[in-house]
Amino acid sequence: MNNVKIKSKNLNVYYGEKQALFDVNLDLNEKEVTALIGPSGCGKSTFIRCINRMNDVIDICKVSGNIEIDGVEINDKNLDVVSLRERVGMVFQKPNPFPKSIYDNISYGPKIHGKGETKSELDEIVENSLKKAALWEEVKDRLDEPGTGLSGGQQQRLCIARAISVNPEVILMDEPCSALDPIATAKIEELIDELKKTYTIVIVTHSMAQAVRVSQKTGFFHLGKLIEVGKTEKIFKNPDNKMTQDYITGRFG
């Protein structure tokens, strides 16, 4: 068992009047893939958006409770969100490359955080990030072409490379494969397997099979509550909770 990297305690999230998460207590282990499953609207995405404080963007969203990364509380007003997001990268459901060149898409983050001051340093970061995202071979000859011109799967790997470029510790993935075809999905899953050696990964997914394939730990959410969490193998073979059982066998959801 790896060390705990992220720890949430009694986490509650409200969108205006509506409560989206109820007292979530969840530990995420270092250099492991944790999958979050559950029916739509159950709070999985809301949960991972708390980890990099992306919910700050939404005016009506209020968060209470604690989240610690390496024992440091991040749900603190005085916390520097910029450096938090440098440590916690995110990949979204729909590939969202910037309307810039492939090179600029990757160098965007390092430039913002003042990394890679010379051109050659930047070149190196771009190359390494693309290599880690298994995209280098496909795009190395056309780095100045727009990132929006790539295929869906390539765009998503570009977004992963963009997240890697600032050398984070955690990568959050919000249904990263839901807009992709099976082949592109397989490539991303392969990539996640590789990335977990370096990064702590949290992935939200609607695909049970994907959760089984990529994760070591699985959490099941329902109506804003964390119903059950445990080793992926156990959750899918022998869950403690009846509701988990029903969900993974497709009886509801």
Binding site: N96, F98, Y108, I112, H113
Partner: protein
């Protein structure tokens, strides 16, 4: 008479709607058949058939009646022994006859005029009567025709669709034809102008003083006069003044408009947005003439005062005052359009940027604005074409003398101002001075057309990317 006819036709065709609707219902019950359309479509069908042919006939008749009567009356008068040498005299006599008929002529009435006036009265009567009879005939025929169709249970829904499609087509045709008409009238008058003044003298001349050509018939210009006129129509000072004032206006409008657009789209809370957006858009609703006297009476003298304090000579009608006020007028165009464009940049791009640790201003500067840039450029170009075409402010605040200058404190003039100056007051219609207005209009039209085209292309290119 015409209004009574139109009223009657309208009332009658509207009542036919109810008749047609109930009639078809009873047909369906009597014959025990399924109707090919809902009963109301048979009502519409009757209404359209009753009104359109008769109204179209009335329109065409009203267009041609005066022309025909006039030619008949002029011929009658000529047969009576009236003498006229050209078209103008003939028109004069016709107007006299008409006035006698209406009882508003107070001159001497000789036998020729009296006879002609009687003939006029006769023809007017004849035409009116036959118009009424024909319209009634048309209404009856078309109503009988459509009733027959209805009795046969026609596909009224499809027929109504076809008729409506036709109506819409005719409307758009009218719009297009009017536009073409305007373009061609510009074109033909400009060609007349360019047959007197060399197009290169016009395009590259640096002196604009059209008053030299005042009241001089284009056909009777002597060689000496022509030499004098040659350099009176130089376009350069006007285009220079126009671009100069537009440039000053954009210097004001682009930064303020763009920044307020960014603020509205990215920073303003919903509440502030709801209040301030309409307030900014009120600026667009202020009549330009109000801006004009504001510029001429307040801003111009204010600048002159300040200039004097610094020992500068500032003309009270200055390019600076006009450009500044024009810029303020244009702010809402830039701000509202760029607000829309920025709003349509997908949230996912912002999220992507925030997620990697960018701040709000970094995200706006490096992701949102570049993504929205084509649209922003489009909105700026639209604003430029608005600035170039703006008339009232420059007429009132920029001055009339065509100075070729880049000093914003001096008075200058624009294309639109000159068109106004040329066409107000009395003028000979075929003097080069008057015709030059059409050449200016054409040039202005082409310039704004090109700008609008580029702007729309830019906006479209942007839309394709994100829809």
């Amino acid at each position: 008479m015409n209004f009574v006819l139109i009223f009657l036709i309208t009332i009658f065709s509207l009542s036919l709607f109810f008749y047609g609707r109930s009639k078809t219902k009873s047909i369906a019950i009597e014959k025990n058949i399924k109707l090919n359309a809902l009963p109301k479509f048979y009502g519409y069908y009757l209404v359209l058939w009753c009104s359109i042919p008769s109204l179209v006939f009335l329109l065409i008749w009203s267009l041609f009646e005066p022309v025909i009567i006039k030619s008949i009356i002029i011929e009658t008068a000529a047969n009576q022994g009236a003498i006229f040498n050209d078209k103008n005299e003939a028109n004069l006599i016709y107007e006299k006859i008409k006035a006698i008929h209406l009882g508003t002529y107070f001159g001497d009435i000789d036998s020729i005029l009296r006879e002609s006036a009687l003939a006029y009265a006769k023809f007017i009567n004849l035409f009116t009567n036959s118009k009424v009879v024909l319209i009634f005939a048309i209404v009856i025929v078309s109503v009988i025709y459509s009733l027959k169709k209805i009795n046969k249970n026609n596909k009224a829904r499809d027929d109504v669709e076809i008729i409506l499609k036709g109506l819409l087509f005719v409307s758009s045709l009218i719009a297009i034809l009017t536009t073409l008409g305007i373009i061609f009238s510009l074109l033909f008058e400009s060609i007349k102008f360019f047959s007197v003044i060399n197009i290169f003298d016009y395009l590259f001349g640096t002196n604009w003083s059209p008053q030299r050509a005042f009241v001089r018939d284009a056909s009777s210009i002597t060689a000496a006069e022509f030499e004098e006129l040659k350099d009176a129509f130089g376009f350069i000072p006007l285009i220079a003044g126009t671009t100069f004032i537009a440039f000053i206006a954009m210097l004001v409008a682009v930064p303020i408009g763009l920044f307020s657009g960014i603020y509205m789209a990215e920073y303003a809370s919903l509440k502030i947005r709801r209040i301030s957006k309409p307030i900014i858009e009120i600026l667009a609703g202020i009549p330009t003439v109000v801006y004009g006297f504001f510029a001429a009476l307040t801003v111009g003298p204010f600048f002159r005062q300040i200039g004097e304090n610094f020992g500068l000579t500032v003309s009270s009608e200055s390019a600076l005052a006009a450009g500044l006020i024009m810029g303020i007028m244009i702010i809402p165009y830039v701000s509202s359009l760029s607000d829309d464009v920025i709003n349509s940049v997908p949230q996912s791009l912002r999220d992507g940027s925030y997620a990697i640790g960018a701040t709000k201003s970094e995200t706006i500067k490096k992701v949102v604005i570049p993504a929205a840039l084509p649209g922003i450029i489009g909105s700026i170009l639209l604003a430029v074409s608005r600035a170039i075409g703006e008339t009232m402010i420059v007429v009132m605040a920029a001055g009339l003398a065509a100075n070729l200058t880049i000093n914003p404190l001096e008075s200058t003039t624009t294309i639109t101002t000159q068109i106004v100056m040329i066409l107000v007051g009395d003028q000979e219609f075929d003097s080069p001075k008057t015709q030059s207005a059409f050449a200016l209009g054409l040039t202005l039209f082409i310039a704004t057309l090109i700008l609008n085209y580029i702007a729309q292309r830019a906006v479209k290119k942007y839309r394709e990317k994100y829809d």
